[in-house]
């Protein structure tokens, strides 16, 4: 056939919605701050550090966390007020209704680690809701790394408390028939190795999906303004309302995901502590 054929890519470029979504996905991907023409593989050669858009905002969230707690704890008062009150309420929430609720009174010993996880994730998630900023937790690299840190810590605590032999033995519940033991052991091993992966994917996908949703409604608004037609008068106000509703929902999800990440960390540590009891 000699008729001019239109390739898939050309068709996609002509459609404003597809074009917009492709641009959105590109904006949300990990890009080096300098030299955007370089692929991510080239800019990550060994011994070569590149600040990406996500790491940049993660460092800012990190600085804000430190700043918040330093400013808050500068003048401790018996009767808390203002920013000190806010910080104290947050810390008391993590210590009492997160650590102590899951692990009992001894859970307060693990508050420093769980508190670090909680506030890191919380500040990153919340910062991602301010328009030019990206959530540091919106990329798989960060969240998988946190999953691995949690994995290492809870296994380390389990081995330290129970001893290596007893900790591994605890993967098989007492009273299991001998022929079933290898299967149970392998299943338990798989479930343990899935934990960091699900921790990472849950946080990443929540943050990423939220930003995609917001972006899609923003694209709808852009198209409605650019190509004015009868439908514009329906799409434009509807998208605007959805933007506000979704933004509120995103704020809720940001806090909820930090809570879930921290509480699952507490549950895993609790499981490792009491491994040899059942």
């Amino acid at each position: 056939m000699s008729a001019p054929t239109v390739t898939v890519a050309e068709q996609a470029a002509a459609d404003p919605l597809t074009h917009g979504i492709e641009k959105l996905v590109h904006e949300l991907s990990v890009l080096p701050l300098k030299g955007e023409h370089l692929g991510i593989a080239e800019s990550y050669s060994p011994g070569h550090f590149t600040l990406t858009n996500y790491t940049f905002w993660m460092l800012i969230a990190f600085a804000l966390t430190v700043l918040f707690f330093v400013v808050a704890s500068r003048k401790p008062k018996l009767v808390p007020s203002g920013i000190y009150n806010l910080a104290e309420a947050g810390v008391a929430f993590v210590r009492d209704s997160l650590c102590a609720e899951v692990m009992g009174p001894e859970g307060r010993k693990y508050f420093p680690f769980i508190g670090t996880v909680f506030f890191f994730v919380l500040f990153n998630n919340l910062l991602g809701n301010i328009p030019p900023a990206l959530p540091g937790t919106g990329t798989l690299g960060t969240t998988f790394m946190w999953g691995l840190i949690v994995f290492t810590v809870y296994n380390g605590i389990g081995i330290k408390k129970n001893g290596l032999g007893r900790y591994i033995k605890s993967f098989i519940p007492s009273g299991t028939p001998l022929w079933l033991a290898p299967f149970i052991f392998v299943l338990e091993l798989i479930s343990h190795f899935l934990r960091p992966i699900t921790l990472g994917i849950r946080l990443y996908a929540n943050m990423y999906a939220g930003h995609i949703m917001l972006g899609v409604f923003a694209i709808f608004m852009g198209i409605a303004i650019e190509h004015v037609s009868a439908t514009s008068f329906v799409v434009l106000p509807l998208s605007f309302v959805m933007q506000i509703v979704l933004r509120g929902f995103e704020l809720f999800v940001a806090v909820l995901q930090a809570y879930i990440f921290a509480i699952l960390t507490a549950v895993y540590i609790n499981g490792a502590l009491h491994a040899s009891e059942h």
């Binding site: 898939v8 209704s97 609720e101 699900t198 994917i201 849950r202 929540n206 879930i260 509480i263 699952l264």
Partner: protein, 83 residues
């Protein structure tokens, strides 16, 4: 020409697969989250003094269920990259 047709077929099938992965994955997770919510409300109504501990357990279960649904979401993005 033949190669191009093949590319189009594979591309459209991967998009279809991505949609199915997210959609079907979402059904299971949605049912699970609905059950968790309804049972928690039921239990809270029966024993309001247990509400705090029930809520904690609910969030743990919610997080675990949600992860399964989100695996479909990630898989959808992986499938879309298939060319």
């Amino acid at each position: 020409m033949h190669d191009q047709e093949e590319e189009v077929v594979i591309g459209s099938l991967s998009v279809l697969g991505a949609g199915l992965a997210f959609g079907l994955g979402g059904i299971g997770a949605a049912l699970g989250i609905g059950m968790i919510g309804s049972k928690t409300i039921e239990s809270m109504a029966r024993q309001p003094e247990m509400a705090g501990r029930l809520q904690t357990t609910m969030f743990i279960a919610l997080g675990m269920t949600e992860a399964i649904g989100l695996l479909g979401f990630v898989l959808a993005f992986v499938l879309q990259g298939v060319k």
